[in-house]
Structures are given as C-alpha cells and as structure tokens.
Symmetry: C2
Subunit: 346 residues, 2 copies
C-alpha cells in the first residue's frame, strides 16, 4: 500500500472469480493503493454483482482518500470464454449465473468510468509482467497451474490476444499426440492441461497406488477421501517417494509444453503462477519442482534458448489478476483507445 | 513484372541459399519489378558472394530502367542460425563457406544501401503475408515443409522474432514427448520437424516396406535407390496405398503441431509453404493432403478456433523469401529505423 497522492492517475482493477471478486486501486506505477475481496454471490446475478463492484470501489476510493477525479479507467477480467469486442461474458464453467451478460457496459455504468475487458489469464500475465516476476523482462509467457492450466503471452507491452481471444491458451497446446491420452476439462486429449492441472496430479498418484505403489496416501485413497495437490505435496515433503515422483512427473510434462512455447515465442522468461506451486521458492519442494522444470526443459531447446530463457515462479500470487487488469486499463488509457488491448484484429 | 515507374520507392530482396541466391527488385506495392537467380558458388567465399549480389542488383536496375535513386534499401535473408543485432551469419548447416561472416555490413557495402537482415523462414512468412496466401489476413503462421520444417509468425505487420531470433521456430515445437521418438536434423527427439520433413516421410515409407508393406516403392528401396518425397507422391497418385498412407500420416503430425501453434497465437491463418506440398492445389493429392491437415487439426481445437482458423497453401513458391525480405526492408524504411524488424528487445 502506498500514499494516495503518489503517482496519479489511478486505475481500478477487478478480477471476477467463481467464489470471490478481487478489486483494487492501482496507481500509475503499478502500486496497489487499496484492495478488497468480496464474495461473488452468483445467485444474486450479474447485474447485482456489477452494482456491488461499483459500491466497493467507491468505498475504497473514500477510505484511501483518493480523489475520484483521479480514477480514470477500470480493467475488468473474468474467466473465459468471453467476447472481448462485444464486452460480453459468454459461458465460463465456474460462473454459470453470469452467462451471456454484457459485463463491460454494465460495469462501466456502475463504476462511472470506461472499462477495459479481457480474460483473467491474460490479465494475470500482464500483472506479473508489469509489477511481478516479469518486471525486468521485455517478453514473457505466464502459465498458471491450478484446477486448469491458463496462460498469457506478453511481448513488449503487447498482449498476444489473438483473433478470438484464444492467444496464449497455453493449457490447450498438445504434449501427447495419442488419441487415448488423458483428457482435460474440455474433453481434449493430450493437452498440457490434461497432464499438468491439479486433477492430473491427483490422478497420477491414484494410478500409482492402484498399480501397487507404496505410499502414505494409499490409506486416503482406499478410504475414498479426497486427495488434493496440497496433500500430495505434504506427503512428498515427508519423504513419500510416490508423491514426490508424481510431482516431478508434472514438472516433466510442464517442461515439454514450455519447449513448444519458447520455440514459438522466444521470450525472455516463462513464469509459473497459480495455486499449484508446491510452496514456491519458500519451500524445498517448490524449489526442487521448478529446478526440475528447468532441467527437463533446457536440454530440449535450441542452443540460443537453452541457457538463456528464464523459468521462474510468479510473485504476485492472487493479486496478479486485478493488478494486471488495472495495467491493461492503463495501456488503453495511455493509447486513448477503446476497450481492446491487443495487437491483433479483434 | 510491372512497369518500372510504378510505385516507388523500390526495395531489393535477397534470399541466400546453399545452391542459389535469389534476388529481386520489389516496388512499394509488393510487385516484383525484376528478379534473377545466381549460383551461390560457396567455394568463392562470402565476400565474393556479396560482390556478385551488388553486381547483379546493378544489372537488374539497369535492365528494368529503374532509377537507382529510387532504390532505397535492401532486405537480405539467410538460413539460420544468424545474429540479427550484429548482422552476422553464424553457422548455417547448408552454407559452411559463409560461417561467421558480417554479412549485413558487407552486403550494404557492395549494394550501396542500408540492409535489413533476418532469417529466410521469417522473410518467407512476411512475403506470404504481404503479397501471398496471407494477403487478406491480419495475422498468420507460415510453416515451410522441405528438408527442414521452418516457420514464421506475423501479427499485424509485426514479426514474432523473439529475443534470440528463435521466435517462430515452429519446426522445433514438440509433437511427441517420448525420449526415443524420431530425431530431427539437430538431434532433438519428437519435434514437428522430426515428423514432417522430407526425411521423415521417406523414413516412414521405408519402415512400412521393411515391416512387410506392399508398395511399388519396395523395388526402389531394395535396390537402395534414393526414395524422395516426389517419388512417394507419384506412387501415391498412381494408387500406391502405402505411399498414400505415409503422406496422410505426415498430414496428421502436421495437424498436431498446428493445434499447439494456434492455441498460442490464435492467428487468422496457418499457411503451408515449402517444396513438400504434394503438388499443392493443382493436384488431387495436394488437395487431399491439405484437407487431411484440416480435418485432423480442427476437431482438436477450442471451439472459437475450430471452424475459423484457415489452413491454406502458400502461393508465392520460391519467390516468398526475396519478396518478404524486400518487405521487411520496406517496414524498416517506413519506420526510419535501423536494421532490426522486431517487436521484441533484440
């Protein structure tokens, strides 16, 4: 948090999720002036959500003693699929109550400022690029590992958004060509998501146990309790070889996807975000995980990339989305353009 | 060819290959005013090559009655690896006599105009984008199929060049994660190139024959004659099922690579260039090949991409490289910048 007077103009960042909406005021230097999380309360509907977003932003402005005249634009992001040119949420799996809603126009109505609209993975990528792990780089790919595998690609302050807002859909690149490969949340076989999301890690552990592997997690499995990535990580930290192996297998598949991505984009860095970071740099397991990603990925790259493409953990955590959406609003504000932040022909 | 007075300024395009150097004068609208191919004659060395390039360009200018005052800049491309910022050819496999040569400076010396330098695959992509199959699109991925698999990515008049000129190295994305998968020319296993270049097609045919498959090519194989993609295509056209199957298998692997690329870039189109086009649209086999690529690729894509990403043959043939290099020179000329055409931080 910084003093209110520093670095105007001020941008609003809004990151809509299935459970919570994160909001923040972000200054021109990318510092968070104030932030809050409110429940999405889907059952109250999208219009009510937009009304509460407006209310909360006015509270944040008042509490942080920002002049509302300095608040010039908002960035709002939601899970995809979305229609960026039309400013509409389409049919995201985790916010069914908000389907087919003209969110850009309604949020703008309740906020009183123009709104820049994009998807949450792109915004997280821009947030990390602007003020997080990518701050010192000119180009960056973000991969977010969680229930899904999301992605976003930034090259020199430009978002690779694509013609249908499907640029940077890195979870859907293929890492296994077999038609009978594991499937992802959309039923696609062999995608990076199908091998690297939370479900894939848990499935890998369960399969190893069923195949007779020895693990402290066998009792949880046989009792039909839910195994989660956190439980797998804790077992691995306590020396469970099977759990450890499943996590390192995730690192290997992630590396294979990264190799394809870096030969397409050739960025300065690949940044790993999302909840499934095995403790990140603060934990020996997290450090071993990212080091494994590097040692699996680098030898598979062309020589000029091999020792130079950085592979790092994200640093903004759950703030990346709203910081990045404020940053995308700032890009549009500085360009003086409409709501589309893209180098393509949306 | 067009009249000399039309559409000034004029740009020189130069495409250096292991056997021939293609040169052309290209006007501001991308029309070829004059062109020629001269032997590379590697044994005479790179400096002599640059001297002959200068000579030939002066001949083309004289013969086409262009005023040399209208010739403002040249684009020169070579096979990689190259060092774009330093303007140097590094160590391309097919022009060993030109290794470690400061080609941009020397070509500029002999031509008398500034030179824009890039790799040949990027230039071919820009050529197809400017005046070929990509003319009506805003973003495009070119894949060139031949002895290697090259690539180039254009988004809105920008080349995705990357930090180390390895952006768009689409032949090196992975389509098979197995460590014992087939290897490409650089020894990398499981790359798109390892499955889709000329060698891979021939290897596929040979393996099928060795496995007891029935084919008219068996006699060539057993006599140890060289099987080429052209011979495979001719056999397929004459009803050889084994040859036909090997070509359609190439289409399937290509489709798998395309799926990864379009979920990264989300372009308007993927364009297939290079010598290995099985006759292109002029031939029933070529038409079947590209249709197979489409039917293998589209069902593997996210819905917004599935029916909208175009997959087309390139249209400029062997001219794409010099037309595109002239086009890259034109971009730099219009920007008034130095030699680097890139949206990244080279």
């Amino acid at each position: 948090m910084v003093g209110p007077a520093a670095q105007t103009p001020i941008f609003v960042g809004i990151d809509i999720g299935g459970t919570n909406i994160k909001l923040g005021l972000v200054n021109d230097a990318g510092q968070v002036v104030a932030s809050r999380s409110i429940p999405t309360e889907q059952s109250r509907g999208a219009e009510d959500g937009c009304r509460r977003i407006g209310e909360t932003v006015r509270q944040l402005i008042a509490e942080s003693q920002v002049s509302s005249a300095h608040v010039v634009r908002a960035g709002l992001v939601s899970p995809g699929p979305i229609d960026v040119p039309r400013g509409r949420v389409l049919r995201p799996g985790n916010i069914p109550a908000w389907w087919d809603f003209p969110i850009r126009e309604r949020a703008s109505h309740h906020l009183g400022v123009p709104v820049t609209f994009n998807n949450d993975a792109n915004a997280a990528a821009y947030g990390e690029f602007w003020r997080g792990a990518g701050e010192r780089f000119q180009s960056m790919i973000l991969l977010t590992l969680g229930t899904g595998v999301g992605g976003g690609i930034i090259i020199g302050d430009m978002l690779i958004d694509g013609v249908h807002n499907c640029g940077g859909e890195c979870g859907h690149i293929l890492v296994d060509p077999r038609d009978d490969a594991p499937r992802d949340s959309l039923g696609k076989s062999g995608s990076l998501e199908a091998y690297c999301n939370a479900l894939a890690l848990v499935a890998r552990v369960r399969a190893a146990i069923v195949a007779g592997g020895n693990s402290t997690l066998a009792s949880i499995h046989s009792a039909d309790y839910e195994i989660t990535p956190r439980i797998v990580a804790e077992a691995a930290e306590q020396g469970d070889e099977l759990a450890h192996g499943a996590i390192m297998e995730t690192a290997r598949w992630l590396a294979i996807g990264i190799v394809s991505l870096v030969h397409t984009i050739d960025p300065d860095a690949v940044v790993l975000g999302g909840a499934m970071n095995f403790g990140g740099l603060a934990s020996p397991l997290g450090r071993e995980f990212i080091e494994r990603v590097r040692t699996e990925a680098h030898p598979r790259m062309l020589e000029p990339l091999r020792d130079t493409v950085k592979i790092e953990f994200a640093t903004l955590g759950g703030d990346a989305g709203f910081v990045g959406s404020a940053g995308l609003a700032r890009l549009d504000y500085n360009k003086g353009t409409g709501p589309i932040t893209s180098i393509t022909n949306s």
